[in-house]
Amino acid sequence: MDWFKKPKYMTVRVTSKKKLDIPDNLVTRCPGCSEIILNKDIENAQRTCPKCNHHFQMPARERILFLADPDSFRETSGRIQAADPLAFPGYRDKVVKGKKQTGNLDSVIAGFCTMGGIPVGLAATDFRFMGGSMGSVLGEEIAALIEKAVERKNPVVIVSASGGGARMQEGIISLMQMAKTSAALARLAAAKQMFISVLTDPTGGGVTASFAMLGDVIIAEPNALIMFAGPRVIEQTIRQHLPKRFQRAEFLQEHGMIDIIVRRQEMRDRLIQLLSITQPVPAQE
C-alpha cells in the first residue's frame, strides 16, 4: 500500500450560497449542540434550543412580556435617553445603533406589572444595546423603579443581560450608577420588600458588582456567563489558567454565589412561587 501517495480527489466547487439556500433569518446553528434549528422552533421555546436546551439571549421587551401577566405591564422607562457627557468618540453612533437594533431608547426596560396576580416592579436589560451596559439611563431607570416600588410596597425583579458592565463611554458617571442603584436597594431592603435578581448570559463588571448581586434571592439561567472581570482580562493581566466552566452559572452556584439555577421555561412559575411569600397568607375558611 502506498501510504504517501497523494490522494486523488475530485474537486467540486461549492458556492455556499447555492448549497445552503436558506435565508439566514430562518435557521440558527445552536452553539450548544451544533444542530441546525429552525428559528421558529427556538422562538416557540422561549428562545431555547429544543434539542439541547441551550439558552439564547432574549430581548428585554420580550422577556418582560414573557414574565408579566398578560396586558399587565405598565412601562415607567422610555422617557429619557443617553446624553454624551464626555463627548466620547463613537458614543452617539453606538447609541443610535443600539436604538435601531432594539427599538428601545437604551439598554433597559422597566415598569410595573403583576406576576401571578402579585404586583411587582420588573426590569430587564438588553445585551443588544451596547452589551446591556449601565450608563446614566439604566442607572436612573433602575433607581427610579426601586424608589417607586418602595412607595408602592412592591417587590422588585430585575433580569440582567449586561455583559458590558458599567458603560465606559460615560466614564466616572457610569461608575457612580453602581452606588446609586445599590443605595436604592438599601431603601427597598429597609422597606422589607423582596428583590429577586435574575442573571442571564452574559452579566458582568459594574452590573454584577452592584444591583445584580444584591438579590434576596439570586437566580441564574443555566450556563449563563456571570463575572466581575472578564476571562480575557484575567488571562491577560495575571496569566492564570482558568478552569473549564469558569464563571458559568453552575460554577457560581458551586461557589456559593447564587441561590438557584432555573431553566427559562420554568422561570415565571418559580418567580411567582418566590414572590408569593411576600403576600399575606389567605385566612382559613
Binding site: A82, A83, P85, S136, M176, K180, A209, M213
Partner: protein
C-alpha cells in the same frame, strides 16, 4: 530626589537639579563663590517645575498618581493620626493585605480608618498584593465599618488601587458580591464617612470603599471607570494609546469636580505629593479636621438623606423626543 524616581516628563528639570547639586559640592571643595549662579539656576529649576506641573496632561497626572514614592495609605494612617492600631482580617477566610484598616485617633478622637495599600518597592508590593484587594479585603472593610457604626465612630477611607484583583480567586469567592454589598451598606451606614482618593481610584475596586458623605481627591490623583490602558485596548486595540484615553475619560480631580462627582480637591505641593510627603499629610489632616465636626454634628437621618441624594443625582441624560 533619587534619580531613579523621576517621571519622564520631569527629566529636564531633574537633570538641572542634579547639575545644581554637583555645582554646589564643587563649590564646597574649591572654595569658589558661585552662590549667585547657583541661586539663579535654582530659581530656573523652580520655574521649570512650576511650569510643568501647572499644565500636566491627564496622562502625566496618571503617572504622578502612580508614583511609587507617593505617600500611600499606611503613611497617612501613621502620619495624620496620633495613634493607629491595625485590625486584621475578615473573620471568615484571610487577612487581605491589599486592604488595611483599624482604629486611629485624630485630635484625641477615635475613628475607623480603612484603605487600599500599595507598596513603594517590589518587596512592599508583594506584601500588599500591589494594592489589588481580594473579596476578603472588601469584607474586612465592611466589618470595620460595622464596628464603627456600633461604637458611633466616623469612618475615613483612603483610595489607592488599580482595581480589585482580577483573578480566579476573586471570581470564585465573589468579589462582585463583596463590592456590591459595600456599596449598599455604606449608603446607609449610620456614621459619617469621608473618602480621600490619594492616588489611583480604579473602577469597582475603588468605589467599593468610596461611598461617603464627602469624597475628596488629591490634586494629582485619578478616579475612573476603567484604566486608560484598558480603555485604549478596547477603543483602538492598542494600550500604547493610553495617553489619549486618559484625556477622553475625564479622570482627573478637576474633571470629577466639574462633573459633580466629588466635593473637594486637596492641592498638592509643587511637583506632586511624593516630593513633600509631610506637606500633603498635613493637608489631609487639615481637611479631616475641617470636615469631621460638621458631619458629626448633623442628625444622622439628615446625613443619610444627603448621602443618598449625592449619589442619586449623578447621571446625565436627555428627555426623549418621543416616548419609545
Amino acid at each position: 530626589m533619587a534619580a531613579e524616581n523621576y517621571l519622564e516628563f520631569e527629566k529636564a528639570v531633574v537633570e538641572l537639579e542634579n547639575k545644581i547639586a554637583e555645582l554646589r559640592s564643587f563649590t564646597d571643595d574649591q572654595r569658589l563663590n558661585l552662590k549667585e549662579e547657583i541661586e539663579q539656576l535654582e530659581q530656573k529649576a523652580e520655574t521649570m517645575r512650576r511650569d510643568i506641573y501647572r499644565k500636566l496632561t491627564p496622562w502625566q497626572i496618571v503617572q504622578v498618581s502612580r508614583h511609587p514614592m507617593r505617600p500611600h495609605t499606611l503613611d497617612y494612617f501613621n502620619g495624620v493620626f496620633e495613634r493607629f492600631i491595625e485590625l486584621h482580617g475578615d473573620r471568615a477566610f484571610i487577612d487581605d493585605r491589599a486592604m488595611v484598616g483599624g482604629l486611629a485617633w485624630l485630635d484625641k478622637k477615635p475613628m475607623v480608618v480603612i484603605g487600599t495599600q500599595k507598596g513603594k518597592d517590589t518587596k512592599e508590593n508583594l506584601a500588599h498584593n500591589f494594592g489589588l484587594p481580594l473579596p476578603e479585603g472588601y469584607r474586612k472593610a465592611l466589618r470595620l465599618m460595622k464596628f464603627a457604626e456600633k461604637f458611633n465612630l466616623p469612618v475615613i477611607t483612603f483610595v489607592d488601587t488599580t482595581g480589585a484583583f482580577p483573578g480566579l480567586e476573586g471570581e470564585e469567592r465573589g468579589v462582585a458580591e463583596a463590592i456590591a454589598r459595600n456599596l449598599r451598606d455604606m449608603s446607609v451606614l449610620r456614621v459619617p464617612i469621608i473618602v480621600v482618593v490619594i492616588g489611583e481610584g480604579g473602577s469597582g475596586g475603588a468605589i467599593g470603599i468610596a461611598v461617603g458623605d464627602r469624597v475628596a481627591m488629591l490634586e494629582n490623583s485619578v478616579y475612573s471607570v476603567i484604566s486608560p490602558e484598558g480603555c485604549a485596548a478596547i477603543l483602538w486595540k492598542d494600550r500604547a494609546q493610553a495617553p489619549k484615553a486618559a484625556e477622553i475619560l475625564r479622570i482627573t480631580a478637576a474633571d470629577l469636580k466639574r462633573l459633580g462627582v466629588i466635593e473637594d480637591i486637596i492641592t498638592e505641593p509643587l511637583g506632586g505629593a511624593h516630593r513633600e510627603p509631610q506637606t500633603i499629610i498635613a493637608k489631609v489632616k487639615q481637611y479631616l479636621q475641617e470636615n469631621l465636626p460638621e458631619l458629626s454634628a448633623k442628625p444622622i437621618e439628615v446625613l443619610l438623606e444627603e448621602r443618598y441624594m449625592k449619589f442619586r443625582k449623578v447621571g446625565v441624560f436627555e428627555a426623549a423626543a418621543h416616548e419609545c
